[in-house]
Amino acid sequence: MDASTRRTRFEERVRVERDFLVPVNRRFGAAAPLAGMTASAIESWRRRASDLYIEMDVERVAKLLLEAAARAELLADNSRDVFEADRQVAPDGLGGLKVLLTSALNVPD
């Protein structure tokens, strides 16, 4: 694996993370921002959002985020060092989850 492949993977990871963070933060960002797509960050967001948005199905959104992160193999990536080469980003199959997330958030695409 060459250096350019590693760099591309980091760029792709950022793209995938934004794809899910942006719609969530459009809905919740002012009071309960989602800061990242790791299991810890999603759980932190779930707790904060559950306290503030009792009318929203926060649990469902959190499950969709975790599923997306798992499919994209973001959960296994501690990402503290983007020069690590063995980390994968697998964005395939995320489109359906994005649709479900948009529906759960009740926001337009």
Binding site: R18, G36, A41, V82, E84
Partner: protein
């Protein structure tokens, strides 16, 4: 089932600059082609004095680790400088010797520069995502400066504050308070800490405006060297 060849600690704990933000970076080296071992087998080698830290494991097969050293990858240098054994079935890191020279500094810097260049557009489109974007500023800047330190300093500087320790180059145009804020955003996104509040779009944009020309000049300097 996998075979564990070595467990090493690296990062701030290995460098001796542990602070309240520190976690425990572990490297687990496993035999090629056999997969990972149960994480409990790795954690079993962590001394009790470090067991209160949140740990994360980087898994590598011996072959991949060897290639990393042969290619002179920066993470190979990171391990070469810092990795301390907690358990060794074989002296894996020692046997790898010194990594080949790191030659990708300019292209690595350019890659992170590219990621940073997208931030203003992202802030315009989604200002509510400012915490994530500021965290991205931190990880890009830190990695840019780790790469640059390999050329500007006596040895690569993998510390959290590497942007403030470059030799022979103008100081990074960012206060330490701003840098700490960016770091806290990143840690919120990685470790689930409470995100800093408030983080405004205008603050992130202002920091980015100052950093962009400085990083471009840093890259030019590396290209000239």
């Amino acid at each position: 089932m996998g075979e564990l060849l070595g467990v090493y600690v690296f990062g701030s704990v290995a460098r001796g600059d542990r602070d309240p933000r520190s976690d425990l970076d572990l490297l687990a080296v496993v035999a090629d082609g056999k997969g990972k071992v149960d994480e409990a087998n790795v954690y079993a080698h962590v001394p009790s004095g470090l067991s209160d830290l949140e740990a994360s494991i980087s898994w590598y097969g011996r072959r991949r680790l060897g290639a990393m050293f042969e290619n002179g990858e920066l993470f190979g240098w990171h391990l070469h400088q810092e990795a301390m054994p907690l358990f060794e079935a074989e002296p894996v890191i020692k046997e790898l010797g010194t990594p080949a020279p790191y030659r990708d500094a300019v292209s690595d810097v350019a890659s992170f520069e590219k990621v940073l260049s997208g931030i203003p557009q992202q802030l315009d489109a989604a200002p509510e995502n400012a915490v994530y974007e500021l965290g991205l500023v931190y990880v890009c800047l830190r990695n840019i400066c780790m790469a640059a330190s390999s050329k500007l300093c006596d040895r690569p500087d993998f510390s959290r504050y590497s942007p403030f320790r470059l030799n022979g180059f103008p100081a990074v145009p960012m206060t330490q308070d701003e840098y700490d804020l960016a770091m806290n955003c990143r840690m919120a996104g990685q470790r689930g800490m409470l995100p800093p509040s408030p983080v405004s779009r205008s603050l992130v944009a202002a920091i980015h405006r100052r950093l962009a020309p400085w990083i471009a000049e840093l890259r030019h300097r590396l290209e000239r060297d």
